[in-house]
């Protein structure tokens, strides 16, 4: 299966860090987000404390790929995780999307080519989180 990331929210790691702080800070989420967007080092520090099993904070985003896959491969993925969304483009191409929570959950639970391709495709979008996940998967 071939995956190409074609769209995603802006500032995904800042959004994850904002979600972390929103639950525990009296500051407003908009203030937290605008402050963190200007301070990538603080975002890195916060993400270093991320507990990925608390998945809800990873849900504030969406990642879209174009995938080349057979119907059987798509069915296999959906049977493992029903939170991916697929739209057929032609005989072998699909528009695929999920949030970070779904992508990471899949990669953690399935050590297959699709899971590795998911992480590889998003390592520039969420570098700190992918680095941490890869360490945990080793």
């Amino acid at each position: 299966m071939k995956l190409e990331l074609v769209a995603h929210n802006t500032g995904v790691e800042a959004l994850v860090a904002t979600a972390m702080l929103t639950t525990t800070s009296s500051s407003r989420p908009s203030s937290i987000y605008h402050s963190l967007s200007k301070d990538p080092e603080r975002v890195d520090r916060l993400l270093g404390r991320l507990e990925v099993q608390h998945g809800s904070i990873l849900g504030h985003n969406r990642l879209c790929w174009i995938a080349e896959a057979s119907e059987g491969e798509v069915l296999g993925i959906l049977l493992k995780n029903r939170f991916f969304s697929f739209t057929r483009l032609d005989d072998s191409r699909w528009l695929l999307s999920s949030n970070l929570r779904t992508a990471i959950r899949y990669a953690q639970e399935n050590k297959d080519q699709f899971g590795r391709s998911l992480l590889e495709s998003i390592c520039d979008v969420v570098p700190t989180i992918v680095r941490d996940i890869r360490v945990r998967l080793l």
């Binding site: 769209a7 959004l15 639950t23 009296s26 989420p29 987000y33 849900g59 985003n61 528009l95």
Partner: protein, 202 residues
Amino acid sequence: MKVELLSHILSDQIRSALGELELPDVELLPHLSFTFAVEEVSRSCSHQLIRHRLASYSQQSQRFIAVRRLKEHTVVPETVADNAPQLFDAFIEAASETYQGLLERGVPREDARFVLPNATETSLLVTMDGRALLHFFGLRCCNRAQWEIRELADAMLVHVRAAEPGLYRGAGPYCYQLGRCLEGRFSCGKMQDVKEKYDHLA
């Protein structure tokens, strides 16, 4: 109430990746995403909001954040302000004193919060995909929705129309989206007024 659209995926990003292949809007919607900061709404409103399960929420926790100056951080419905402001204020004052008293006696925040009213303000981060959001507008922009969540839905719709005018020009309550009311005998009977409102909401 304050609402800000913090981040989203633009449909043009996806359309340009698809090249000459054209997807109908309805097939594109589930791949879009909108993240809002929703601030200074009541716990009553957030409770209705989180009933929309195809979404992600991160809300200020009353386990971690003590409520200070409760009276300054409550949402007061117009009907209460018009009819019984003193009764309402007296209750908020009593709830505030009880809450502070519990904290001072060593009761943890997670237990002291049991006396906080639904009027207490809260803020949260909300993310919905494009299809779930359209359904949310269909239900919560409706005249039959409770006023606070209807105001919230309208404010979110204004932001979404600005970001995606083509896709959400026809968004609003279901009577506006479909041209017919789904509320049966509970219909407000004001479809023309509703159409006028959502034709011009911006």
